[in-house]
């Protein structure tokens, strides 16, 4: 057993943390006010290699395994979560289907441009009438000659307003039920019949844009079918399973940042003639945060290791995602408490984290859905 991350991964974490805390954080208020990530920051992220995290080296990416990717996600979590959201929707769910299921030709066509940040990616399964019940999606894809014709509506799709490529899940054969789903590589700007709706107005994670994606007789070349036709629900959702560990790692990074901010504040803020860190009530909150961080970190590291070992992580990825994101909400709440009134003010990163973190318990499977997955696996 060895709990030390390899040196190169620690070095990557330091580089990403430095970028997030020095470069991105300096523009955080601007991102909040405009709901846009300045293009220079995206270029900076591209130079750093963030867009190519999960893309193999032969296609211009960094070629990291699950442990490496998650190590980077933890560092990413220590900075602006909206910015992190853009990267993770691209590098995690937006990329993993293509890397796993794509043909050589498909990979050559998209991955190099995705690794350089030129082509931002996303993943679309959720529909207005099927969120948690993702097996019930209605978007249809019908084969006609050498195209598939797509009809239907996806919503809350992260990166859709800026995406060059979306991995879209649609029903190719309703008669087969959940075995009748397929995945498609859709280029929104270049596919007539695909419309991106207006940008969602969200509580937090500003700068990470989501929207509806509407398909009206949209013709997608058959060459853009990803994986086999009638790939099935399980495979389609496999794309999300790997994403879940990444979310646990991001949540751990967010908790670490909140603890660092809380410790610094507790030591310097004085009330009743002493630093508030002297009060045991405050100390206990800090201690509880530390426990949440240590346990969440162990979990994501274990699950990432399992992925790299080729083990089935369906249950454990849900355990990690559920636990780390629930803990993050508690930690964010405590961080606001430790900060007092300042934690409620827009100028404080704590206020921002408090809003931003809430999403992690909802997307890529709500906490309740994670419990369902865990329980079903236990009872199977």
């Amino acid at each position: 057993m060895n709990f030390t991350l390899p040196e190169d991964l620690r070095e990557m974490q330091a580089a990403v943390r430095g970028f997030m805390l020095e470069v991105v954080e300096a523009r955080a208020r601007e991102i909040e006010d405009t709901n846009r990530v300045p293009p220079e920051l995206l270029r900076g992220a591209a130079e750093l290699g963030l867009f190519g995290l999960s893309i193999p080296e032969e296609y211009g990416g960094v070629g990291l395994g699950a442990l490496g990717r998650c190590a980077v996600y933890e560092a990413l979590g220590q900075g602006h979560m909206g910015f992190g959201g853009v990267i993770s929707a691209h590098a995690s769910i937006g990329t993993s289907g293509l890397v796993r299921l794509g043909t050589e030709e498909q990979k050559r066509r998209f991955l190099p441009r995705m690794a350089s940040g030129e082509c931002i990616a996303g993943f679309a399964i959720t529909e207005p009438s099927s969120g948690s019940d993702a097996a019930n999606i209605r978007t249809r894809a019908e084969r006609r000659g050498d195209v598939y014709v797509l009809n239907g509506t996806k919503h809350y799709i992260s990166n859709a307003p800026v995406a060059g490529l979306l991995t879209v899940i649609a029903v190719t054969d309703p008669a087969r039920g959940t075995r009748g789903m397929s995945a498609f590589l859709v280029e929104p700007g270049r596919t007539p019949g695909v419309t991106i709706g207006k940008i969602d107005e969200k509580m937090g994670q500003k700068g990470s844009l989501s929207a509806e994606v509407i398909f009206e007789d949209a013709e997608v070349p058959a060459a853009n079918l990803l994986g086999p036709e009638h790939l099935g629900y399980r495979e389609a959702l496999g794309i999300l399973t790997n994403g879940r560990v990444g979310i646990a790692a991001r949540a751990t990074g967010a908790m670490q940042r909140l603890l660092d901010l809380s410790v610094a504040h507790a030591k310097t803020r004085e009330q009743f003639g002493q630093p508030i860190a002297e009060f045991q009530a405050v100390q206990f909150m800090l201690a509880e945060m530390e426990v949440a961080i240590q346990t969440s970190r162990l979990l994501w590291q274990k699950v990432a290791w399992m992925v790299d070992e080729g083990q089935d992580v369906r249950r454990m990825a849900s355990v990690a995602k559920l636990y780390a994101t629930e803990m993050l909400s508690q930690v964010a709440d405590k961080a606001v408490q430790v900060a007092g009134g300042m934690g409620y003010m827009k100028d404080s990163p704590v206020e921002r984290y408090y809003r931003d973190q809430r999403l992690l318990r909802i997307y890529e499977g709500t906490s309740e859905i994670q419990k369902l997955i865990i329980a079903r696996d236990l009872l199977a």
Partner: protein
């Protein structure tokens, strides 16, 4: 030509250091490449990128195994290969200069870049001591550097101002803040650095025993008097403050 750039590993500026057994204990502290050495690594890379005929850039470090991390950072920034003289003995700058000078000669380098001042112990002696051993010119506190053929030009700070210089190689150059803005290693370059050579060497070959022995260390504590002046009457408060500064703190006449 070849460039040798020295890399030291020091506690991060925000790291909390402890004292145990009369020695500084770095256990648990975040360790990074000395910022002054980052300027050196960056400058070597810029000289090459600027078109100078730089054949190879070699990073050198001495110290315990963990120092490898700092060398990997240099490799990830773009240095070609690294040499690690592994030792648990702490070397003072004069002893260290022995290693630097010998490696420079063995490697046939003609430019040595070292930090102007150590971030941890504040010493500025390494550049001078190395230049002295080699009989090379030294340029300290450099703010600008260019290389044309075998001639080094640039500017550096001296006691009475800022001076332009021109020297033929070989030379020793010490860095300072403002020389450049060191790059972050990118993730792909960190991956590539794993495949670059990091050669291990032992200290015995260099006869570089430390000449300074640390007999004790203490953490400097800042004691505050917490004297409060009542500000209700500004005139009286100002008078009291002046009196305290003059007669108690004795910082004004």
């Amino acid at each position: 030509m070849k460039i040798l750039t020295l890399v030291r590993q020091v506690p991060d500026a925000e790291a909390r250091v402890k004292i145990s057994g009369g020695q500084v204990d770095l256990e648990g502290a975040t360790l990074v490449m000395d910022g002054m050495d980052e300027y050196g690594v960056e400058e070597a890379l810029r000289l090459r990128e600027g078109g100078a005929a730089v054949e190879e850039i070699v990073a050198l470090a001495t110290g315990p195994k963990r120092v490898e991390d700092a060398l990997r950072t240099a490799l990830a920034m773009g240095v070609d290969r690294a040499i690690h003289v592994e030792t648990d003995q702490a070397l003072d700058p004069i002893a260290l200069s022995r290693v630097v000078a010998q490696v420079a000669q063995a490697e046939g380098v003609s430019l040595i870049l070292v930090g102007g001042q150590e971030a941890d112990w504040d010493s500025q002696a390494l550049g001078a001591a190395t230049a002295e051993r080699l009989g090379w010119p030294q340029l300290t506190w450099t703010n600008e550097l260019a290389l044309e053929g075998d001639t080094l030009t640039g500017r550096h700070d001296v006691d009475d101002g800022n001076e332009s210089f021109r020297v033929p190689l070989p030379a020793v150059v010490t860095t300072q803040q403002g020389l450049n803005e060191p790059r972050y290693p990118t993730l792909p370059n960190i991956m590539k650095a794993k495949k670059k050579e990091l050669r291990k060497d032992t200290l015995d070959a260099y006869g570089a025993a430390p000449t300074v022995r640390v007999v004790g260390s203490d953490i400097q504590t800042r004691a505050r008097l917490n004297k409060m002046i009542d500000g209700k009457d500004p005139q009286a408060a100002a008078a009291e403050l002046l009196d305290l500064l003059r007669n108690e703190a004795k910082v004004i006449a």
